[in-house]
């Protein structure tokens, strides 16, 4: 990936320099040449988009491209979103300096991280510099990173948050709060896979409820018929005695109303899942990284590539998730959070199985690239 992108970047740069000199590019007007580039960038891959971004960043009069940093940022973003490391780094620089975009250190760090994760060395230095508290990495003395590295203990590497997400303790508090509050209010342990199950099985559930209602009505009719028969045979006194007895037993069991098997209607689980999605939307808008996209992000593309085949992969993976969670009787929330915290044997074993498998699979994937 990196060698190819360096080569293509060099090619773009060469084109950039050669076009004004050659003059014989086949285009009659500079506008035509620019349109050709834009057309290629629109339909081409991230390399073309990064190339056009670079042209906008420095300007190329021969191509009729005026220096326009906000346009450069737009093209960098498009390439960066597809996992182009150079574009990610360039976008990080733009966010850090507020060129073409509003200055945003959080975004800068995010894009530096993305590039660093792909092995971009300068981006990695930037991330380290920002993590060590230097606000202006360029002006920091050259010895600073070295000193930081020496002071970094094992504990730091585990507990220091290198991302722009919550710290581990904030996340732990949030998960525990949701788990406990859910149980406290709903009087049932949190478990998301069963919500899917309830929704998917709504038809059976409606059927069941209908039969139950029919049975209750029937039983009333039967009772009435039996009562009439008893009166006819034994007279009113015997019936009064019988009813008194029934009343007593009804009081003992807490009313004649049958206990509803499932307290929460399946429709409420639809609300639950829908609001979970809206929660993701709201939070990502608040974080400023909401983008509608047809891929799963740079890290996903690094492991599985990008293109239509990832939809198939996700579908197959999804089937495993759906089938597996129901087979194991719980998922990350039901087994992992609610179950493990109550030391339930099924949950401890289930969590170990799915976590262990995910670790092994991910390590194998990493080796295969």
């Amino acid at each position: 990936m990196s060698i190819r992108s360096v080569l293509l970047t060099a090619l773009c740069a060469a084109l950039l320099l050669l076009t004004p000199a050659a003059g014989a590019s086949g285009f009659t007007t500079s506008d035509e040449a620019r349109d050709w580039w834009i057309e290629r960038a629109e339909h081409g891959g991230p390399n073309m988009q990064y190339g056009l971004g670079m042209m906008y960043a420095v300007g190329n009069p021969a191509l009729g491209i005026q220096r326009d940093e906000s346009r450069a940022a737009v093209w960098y973003l498009r390439a960066a979103e597809q996992g182009h490391a150079e574009a990610q780094f360039a976008l990080g620089l733009f966010y850090e300096d507020g060129r073409g975009v509003a200055r945003d250190p959080q975004q800068a760090l995010f894009w530096y991280r993305m590039a660093a994760d792909q092995g971009h060395l300068i981006a990695r230095e930037k991330v380290l510099a920002i993590a060590s508290g230097a606000t202006a990495p360029e002006t920091a003395p050259a010895t600073a990173p070295v000193k930081e590295a020496a002071a970094t203990s094992l504990l730091d590497t585990v507990f220091v948050n290198k991302t722009n997400f919550w710290d581990w303790w904030q996340g732990a508090l949030a998960l525990a709060f949701v788990t406990l509050a859910f149980w406290w209010v709903m009087r049932a342990p949190l478990g998301v896979s069963s919500s899917w199950d309830r929704i998917v099985g709504w038809r059976e559930e409606e059927e069941f409820a209908r039969k139950e209602r029919a049975m209750i009505e029937n039983s009333e009719q039967v009772t009435d018929a039996m009562l009439a028969e008893t009166i006819a045979q034994f007279g009113k006194d015997a019936v009064a005695e019988l009813l008194a007895q029934q009343g007593k037993s009804a009081a003992k069991t807490g009313g004649t109303q049958p206990v509803e098997r499932r307290q929460i209607p399946w429709q409420a689980h639809v609300t639950f899942l829908a609001m979970m999605m809206i929660g993701g939307l709201l939070a990502s808008v608040m974080r400023g990284d909401f983008h509608v996209q047809f891929d799963m992000g740079a890290d996903y593309a690094r492991l599985f590539g990008s293109g239509p085949h990832i939809w198939v992969l996700l579908l197959i993976g999804g089937i495993m998730v759906g089938f597996g969670t129901r087979m194991a009787g719980g998922c990350t929330s039901g087994h992992g959070l609610s179950g493990c915290s109550r030391l339930q044997p099924g949950s401890l074993v289930g969590t170990a199985a799915f976590f262990g498998t995910a670790v092994v699979t991910s390590l194998i994937l990493e080796m295969l690239i």
Binding site: K162, T163, F165, W168, W169, G171, A172, L173, A174, L175, A176, W183, V185, G191, V192, S194, W196, V200, Q263, I264, P265, T271, M277, G279, G280, L282, S284, R287, F294, D295, G297, I310, L314, L315, G317, G318, I319, M320, V321, G322, F323, G324, T325, R326, M327, A328, G329, C331, S333, G336, L337, S338, L343, Q344, G350, F354, T357, A358, V359, L365
Partner: protein, 140 residues
Amino acid sequence: MNNHLRSHLFLGLFGLLMGMSLTFIGFADYGELHRMFVFADLRLLLVFAGGVALSMVGFAVLARGKKLPRKSLHKGSVPGGILFGLGWAITGACPSVALVQLGEGYLPALATMAGIVTGVLAYRWMQARYFHWDTGACEV
């Protein structure tokens, strides 16, 4: 308050809370999750372990003497877990995260969701026809 309305209101609230938390934690971010699985970044592992530890204390205090549904070991625990672990590593999604990913704008999460529905349906069918296990699944 109407029981139905109450269910919708509270479950909706918890859904919102959970979806937002998962995004802020980065649990729905494939890269973050993958870095936890390959032990390149232990933050998410600490989040999860911390969440379980705090819940353990919470349950011990709040649920003392109360009867909670048990989750016993059964034939499906291990194979089901292995299957889920594979799917989790491939999609980056557990049943809640697929929805959060879609909310964050990752459209391919729709494929994951379609897969989950298919998988749940397939299991219901298999369970009714062949397995007949008592999975002790969380009956809400």
